[in-house]
């Protein structure tokens, strides 16, 4: 099931197993048969940890989604609520419990908070008069969820909003806790680098938590050599740009949620040829995307323009494999061929799926609208005409294109110009409010607060300096056989990943000036290792860096890091951790007011 987690340099399955163990333990604490009432949001992240079979082994007989009103009937001893610590959910739970008591008095109630208990929530339950009804309140510490062989995510969607808009640092506390767990399992990380205010906070908390355990040394040989903590607001530009990798585009167009994507079913309808008489399915086709699928692992990080060639190459290989049957003459050879059939069949269906997906994506990327919008993005990133009202944006507003698209572009222009001229900013705001509704004043304010949109304060625009020093724009990005990370955005090299790259070689000292232009402090800390745990490095052995993106990371950035890991002379392997996988759209959505952004 989760074999792909252990393929990488760091076996992340250890973390998953630890999380499963914890879940079993909690379930066993509530003796007898049980029903789980799920905060629907959690089923996604939990799906990465466990399947129903695990719960069933521990006497979970029923599962429901959390809904207002009366709880469904279920003849079980325990009702357990699996919820995030959110006030609105407490109100629903309170209603559930209140309507229950009168009818049934024999069922026991429990709450499992994920990832932490919350005083605020307990207070709310108390105010509602139901706190006493709960036999047991516990927390399930699900900070870092193994998402793929080289990827950990907290699946904490509101982290950026909380940190930069609401100034609530709870997510940073969870981050630090998650990193402590990681160190308990994989050894103390000797070197910590960071850039940004949040990074500084997390490092401080980690060091303090370590002091609390002083006296007892972690005896595990460190797996990670370095931890790099990066604030998302150090690089606001990258998520705004349209990702051009295969996986990035799937996320941009269809949205990948907890490792799953929902696709329009039409292109997949032909798959079911055996049942041709059936009506074409209307339900979206849901697919799981991760490196467990060989073909996907091969193509996910490629620039989309190179995907066609890769699929075609794969098709040749599969065809050739099926051709082998002609050479199978003896019984032994036929047996050999047949034994490979399941694998070939899986490869075939994987190829079919990705061919269909690539076609869907291609329909979008070859459209005029996509091209126009990309052209404007690239103009902004290369610093062309960022100081005046852009006619394309104006036209998009006139056509009432989706507001988020407009906001992405306007924010990008602002970031690439180190703020917009007051006149330009006012013009955009006015057009947006008139076309999309005045209530978006609130959203525009939020974007200003987090720095995505701002009036130019000084006349000096330092973006060109940053761009040149860090080589953020590469003129002839090679999409087919990349030699630089800029291939992931067909020319733009993500700032965050350049910082990571420069840190590995030649070191941040070479870019002091630029680091000062970016927000927040940069720092280096060392954690003492007990003697004897110092690694004796083999010649040519790669170092391992854990890069933690506070406030989210895009798939294209991950692809860029994977590219660096694979470069022969890089000498560095990267493992990626983040609060949440984001793209420009999902990210901006979390900053908007008056719309519900948490996936239901």
């Amino acid at each position: 099931m989760a074999a792909h987690l252990s393929y990488g340099k760091v076996n992340l399955n250890i973390l998953r197993e630890a999380a499963r163990k914890d879940l079993r333990e909690f379930l066993d604490k509530c003796a007898g048969s049980k029903a789980i009432v799920w905060d629907e949001y959690l089923t996604g992240p939990f799906g990465l940890i466990a399947q129903y079979s695990l719960l069933k082994e521990h006497e979970v007989e029923k599962m429901f989604t959390l809904k207002s009103g009366k709880l469904p009937n279920a003849d079980v001893k325990n009702i357990i609520f699996f919820v995030r610590p959110r006030l609105e959910l407490m109100d629903i739970i309170a209603k559930n419990v209140q309507s229950e008591d009168r009818l049934h008095s024999s069922r026991d109630f429990h709450i499992l908070f994920v990832p932490r208990r919350s005083m605020l929530c307990e207070q709310r339950l108390k105010d509602q008069g139901v706190l006493g009804s709960f036999i047991n309140m516990d927390e399930y510490i699900l900070d870092l969820i193994p998402y793929d062989g080289d990827l950990l995510s907290m699946e904490y969607e509101s982290a950026f909003r909380e940190c930069y808009l609401e100034n609530d640092q709870t997510s940073l506390y969870h981050t630090a806790k998650g990193l402590m767990t990681l160190q308990a399992l994989y050894g103390t990380i000797p070197q910590i680098y960071g850039k940004g205010d949040c990074a500084r906070h997390v490092a401080n908390m980690m060091l303090r938590m370590k002091r609390e355990f002083a006296g007892i040394q972690n005896q595990i040989l460190p797996v990670f050599d370095t931890l790099l903590l990066l604030d998302r607001n150090v690089d606001l530009l990258t998520p705004l740009a349209t990702q051009l990798t295969y996986e990035g585009l799937i996320d941009e167009i269809y949205g990948i949620n907890n490792g799953y994507v929902k696709l329009p079913p039409e292109k997949f309808a032909q798959m079911k040829q055996g049942e041709a008489s059936k009506d074409p399915p209307t339900e979206p086709k849901k697919l799981q995307l991760n490196s467990a699928e060989e073909l996907y692992a091969e193509i996910r990080d490629k620039n989309f323009n190179a995907v066609g060639a890769a699929l075609s190459k794969k098709a040749k290989i599969i065809s050739a494999a099926f051709e082998e049957r002609h050479n199978a003459k003896t019984v032994g050879e036929i047996k050999q061929f047949v034994s490979q059939l399941p694998h070939m069949q899986a490869a075939r269906s994987s190829l079919a799926n990705h061919t269909s997906i690539a076609e869907l994506v291609k329909d979008i990327t070859t459209s005029e609208a996509f091209f126009d919008s990309l052209t404007v993005e690239q103009e902004f990133m290369t610093g062309v005409d960022t100081d005046k009202v852009n006619t394309y944006i104006e036209d998009c507003i006139a056509q009432k294109d989706p507001l988020i698209k407009i906001l992405r572009l306007v924010c990008m222009q602002s970031v690439c110009n180190n703020g917009l001229k007051q006149k330009v900013l006012d013009y955009y705001k006015r057009e947006i409010l008139q076309t999309y509704g005045y209530e978006h004043i609130l959203t525009l304010h939020n974007l200003e607060k987090v720095g995505l949109l701002k009036p130019q304060t000084s006349s000096r625009n330092n973006y060109p300096t940053i761009r040149k020093t860090l080589k953020l724009w590469m003129e002839d990005a090679n999409e087919q056989n990349p030699n630089d990370i800029s291939y992931v955005y067909s020319g733009y090299a993500p700032l965050s990943i350049r910082l990571t790259q420069v840190l590995a070689r030649p070191g941040w000292r070479s870019i002091e000036e630029v680091l000062k232009m970016l927000p927040g402090p940069h720092f280096e800390e060392r954690q003492q290792l007990p003697s004897g745990l110092h690694k004796k490095r083999q010649q040519g052995e790669n170092r391992t860096t854990l890069v933690f993106f506070l406030g989210g990371v895009t798939y294209a950035e991950i692809s860029a890091l994977r590219f660096l890991s694979q470069m022969e002379d890089s000498g560095m392997e990267y493992i990626i951790a983040t609060t949440k996988l984001i793209n420009g759209t999902t990210w901006i959505k979390t900053l908007m007011e008056g719309i519900s952004w948490s996936p239901k």
Binding site: M1, W38, L87, N218, G308, I318, S319, R325
Partner: protein, 515 residues
């Protein structure tokens, strides 16, 4: 199944995949076709095996949920809620490859932090995996503070530590302001929002708000958490007081304004927005909020209220409505007497729609009305100072949608002065064509505007796309491009007027072709 059997037969006997050819094409994406073909040709062979699922392939329901996953199971149960005894239809729950079990460390995350290993759980694995267990053995230790569990007299710092560990602790014994503030400072230093909030809840209960507000001023982090807490728990009144005390009047104004989002009744919302007008917004926002109020007020008048309605009978019809007063559109539509609402029934009420949508609506249903009426587009334009371009695009789209081509025409010619009839537009003509085309304007209408595009290349490409032959032909003529003209002849219908025109030009000896 029979059919696929036959196909399979054919597959085995054919010597090669027929449909699958490899060509080196420049366009990488076109290769998608290849892989698709390959997939298709392989399909029949493997289709048969689909029912016979292999153990190492995960079983996935059509909706893509792996069978046995949590969300899948919840859905299943929703379907078969009543039958508890029945074994739920879990065909086969995929088992984990056995190699993975090696990573069972027998230790859970929480036990790491609780500092105790569950030795009984070790047993089942320890025989087989005793090696790996040692590798994964964590640091078994207790935080220093935990040794003090049985002492009851905790300092503020220790209290915060206990809170951090999620242990029960009473804050009530901290009576002095100094102690309370120490508690807060330690909580802030721990960065755990949960703990900070817990302390803040206690402080809110036990301190006068003037004191609390004052102390929070010098503690920005705690302050932010307090604001967040008040927002979450919807203690609007206290929050507004706090912001006022802090002098953060703009934030306060925005916060108050935000409340309108939760008001559903349009009249209440309008009154609420009116009350917002006096709030201390920035000059810029103040203007926007004013516009927001004016717009909603206007929409209510247009939609439901008709100030001049008394004495007017609905059956007097369209003309009367148009010329005399604002129509209360909801009633006009329901009455079914006004033609335009029957031809183009309204999709939704205009209430709470954005300004430009409202303008479009007015251009659609109330176009010719004199500027004095509230629903007249000109009135809307003037009241909200809509830019010329925005007004133009909106009016253009609305009239084109109604196929009111004379109105469309008038938009351009009406703008001239001194009787000069050349068409002028604040919008580039190719955008005009774009708008018209999206509203399915006929070729005759389109070509008038295509002809006005300045850029010859753009003009030709659009004209070709929209089949405005005359324009293509005359542009090539002006460019003296004989070759292009000859080439274009092949694209028009044989025997048609455009073909004759091309022939005339090609035979014309007067023209000095450049090629």
């Amino acid at each position: 199944m029979m059919r696929s059997k036959a196909d399979e037969e054919e597959y085995w006997h054919s010597s090669k995949f027929k449909a699958f050819t490899f060509e080196d094409e420049d366009d990488e994406l076109s290769r998608l076709k290849e892989s698709k073909q390959a997939v298709n040709s392989i399909r029949q062979l493997v289709e048969e095996d689909d029912d016979d699922d292999d153990d190492d392939t995960e079983k996935v329901s059509w909706s893509g949920e792996p069978v046995g996953s949590i969300s899948w199971s919840i859905k299943e149960m929703a379907g078969s809620n009543q039958k508890i005894d029945r074994e739920p239809a879990f065909p086969r729950i995929p088992t984990e490859p056995s190699t993975l079990n090696k990573s069972h460390s027998g230790l859970s995350l929480s036990s790491l932090f609780r500092g105790k290993a569950k030795s009984e759980n070790f047993q089942s694995f320890s025989d087989a995996f005793s090696d790996s267990v040692r590798i994964y053995a964590p640091e078994l230790r207790k935080p220093k503070s935990e040794y003090k569990d049985y002492v009851c007299d905790w300092s503020p710092e220790e209290t915060v530590q206990r809170l951090l560990q999620g242990k029960a602790v009473s804050l009530e014994k901290f009576r002095s302001l100094q102690d309370k503030l120490l508690l807060l400072d330690f909580a802030v230093a721990a960065h755990d929002g949960n703990v900070i909030t817990a302390v803040l809840i206690y402080l809110k209960r036990s301190l006068r708000k003037e004191v609390l507000f004052r102390e929070l001023q010098s503690r920005q982090t705690a302050l932010r958490h307090f604001i967040h807490y008040l927002t979450e728990s919807r203690e609007q009144k206290l929050l507004l007081e706090l912001l006022r005390a802090l002098g953060r009047t703009e934030d306060m104004a925005l916060l108050q304004y935000k409340e309108h989002l939760s008001i559903t009744d349009e009249n209440n919302k309008r009154d609420f927005l009116k009350s917002c007008l006096s709030l201390p917004f920035s000059a810029e926002d103040s203007a926007h909020v004013q516009d927001h109020y004016t717009l909603l007020e206007r929409q209510i008048i247009v939609e439901v209220r008709n100030p001049f309605r008394s004495g007017l009978h609905w059956s007097t019809g369209c003309l009367m409505l148009r010329s005399c007063c604002q129509a209360a559109d909801r009633q006009a539509e329901r009455g079914g007497k006004v033609e335009i609402y029957q031809r183009f029934p309204r999709k939704a009420s205009i209430l709470n729609m954005p300004l430009i949508t409202t303008l479009y609506y007015c251009c659609f249903y109330h176009y010719g009305e004199p500027e004095g009426t509230f629903s007249s587009p000109l009135n809307v334009r003037r009241t909200f100072k809509i830019s010329e371009k925005q007004y133009f695009v909106t009016a253009l789209a609305a009239r084109a949608k109604l196929k009111a081509w004379s109105d469309v025409d008038a938009l351009f010619t009406g703008r001239n002065w001194l009787g000069f009839t050349r068409k002028k537009s604040p919008l580039s003509f190719h955008r005009v064509v774009d708008v018209l085309q999206r509203n399915s304007a006929p070729t005759q209408v389109l070509q008038d505007y295509v002809a006005l595009i300045d850029d010859a290349e753009l003009r030709i490409s659009l004209a070709q796309k929209l089949k405005c032959h005359d324009i293509v032909i005359s542009t090539f003529r002006d460019m003296k491009d004989r070759q292009m003209l000859v080439a274009y002849r092949g694209k028009v219908e044989p025997g048609s007027a455009p073909e004759r025109k091309i022939d005339d030009l090609l035979n014309n000896q007067q023209i000095r072709w450049k090629n």
